[in-house]
Symmetry: C3
Subunit: 201 residues, 3 copies
Amino acid sequence: MSVDLSKTSIRGYKSGRSFAYRALWLVVEALVMLNPVVTPYRLKRWVLRRFGARVGRGVLIKPNVHVKYPWHLVVGDNVWIGERAWIDNFVSVRIGSNAVISQGAYLCTGNHDWSDPGMGLMVKPIKIDPGAWVGAFSQIGPGVTVGTNAVVTLGSVLLKDAQPNGIYTGNPATLVGHRTIRDLPGPAGVPGREQHLGPPA
Amino acid sequence: MSVDLSKTSIRGYKSGRSFAYRALWLVVEALVMLNPVVTPYRLKRWVLRRFGARVGRGVLIKPNVHVKYPWHLVVGDNVWIGERAWIDNFVSVRIGSNAVISQGAYLCTGNHDWSDPGMGLMVKPIKIDPGAWVGAFSQIGPGVTVGTNAVVTLGSVLLKDAQPNGIYTGNPATLVGHRTIRDLPGPAGVPGREQHLGPPA
Amino acid sequence: MSVDLSKTSIRGYKSGRSFAYRALWLVVEALVMLNPVVTPYRLKRWVLRRFGARVGRGVLIKPNVHVKYPWHLVVGDNVWIGERAWIDNFVSVRIGSNAVISQGAYLCTGNHDWSDPGMGLMVKPIKIDPGAWVGAFSQIGPGVTVGTNAVVTLGSVLLKDAQPNGIYTGNPATLVGHRTIRDLPGPAGVPGREQHLGPPA
């Protein structure tokens, strides 16, 4: 058999909102989220919530963050979302408290059934557990869970679940180490370690 | 010898259009293709054709698709080109019918001769054969052919030809499996399988 | 211990400019650098210098190049910086003469201490030595030096130093070959080899 995309199917997938509502989101997103000039974190949180996202306290959202469907987004407290990150959430993306999605990262919930001549749509949720770090320009595949405190390093492509506290590198990303977290605020003598000014602008 | 880019050469390369024409394309592309708010597929196909592309029927082009030189682009029928894909076609890029170029994918036809102190330009065409799938954020190198129905998975970097029906993963991408395509429209009982609504908005 | 980003620290990091100055840069960058329509190389060089960058002669900067802090940027002569490259320089990025940063490349100077519950900021300079080539969509990690004339190929992720003349490929990138540079301008018979028209527009 050969592929025939004129026979494709979204297999009953529903975005969950009307066409007009999604179009409105595109306009609001362009103005508030994708604007290269910085808009206030507070405004972005408010806008995401107005469009159905659950967004915790102290969530920092840098410029040019692209969210497909805010109504499928759940974000805990003190989460950082970096510049030019893309949350491509046809379905649920849940980001636990104190997780970091760094700049340029891509969270991919959509797939196609390549054994189907019509490349029918397949969607699977993504879960980023509390304290995990999705590194800059890394990519997370459909259905993947990044475990608590796990780390996906710069530019890695994670196609399978990451275990809690695992450190994942490469393409495809593999387990290369284990993260340990100090219970003290850091070694003495690190200049300015005592300042708590939030992440850099 | 050391590199001296003041002595570079484009080695007789010609873009095929005047400076003014290329500048006009940049303006039109910015307005129609790169606009974050959705413009109609029909308008994009029309604009690409007006600038010299051959574009088949039923081609879907999502927002923010970047095409360097439309006059070097040939696209078959029922092709999907995803959001933020970049067709960097100094020379010919041919995309066969029913192929998919997913979001964020990058097709690179330009190279430099690194043995040349002036890093002289080298350009090679890319061919995406019918039914192939260039996955999200994957990158295709100069001169590469992606064979019929081949698949390049999320974030993979393909530097050599992909054989027909091959599945390629990793960086550099390697053959990891073979695609088989069902001759039936899909297993019974998949909800909504009978709908033919086109790909998700 | 678990991660608690409310207790983060920038560890005494200073951007080196006031908030107002940085905000002004964002506006100027949006107008001059990130504008999808081409602005003159001369204007971009001038603007970068006005914001504190040292930029040599004959530097070509394509559209949509993103520079975090120009006052931490040093660029030699005859450097090419490709479309959509991102120099994310919290601290010094030094690009030697005749180096090339190709389209979509990402230079990452910022990191976080993942053993710190507050993911304290760590910044490390990047150095791209003369004649090196940071290929399209490749990524360079914090603290990395790309040696003289070294090459990082399409889509590679370089997390450690690259030795002079080394060719690096993959994710993570590894040494796959050695670059030799001819002392002659190239083989006879290459059409147009004698033209010196600069890189393609």
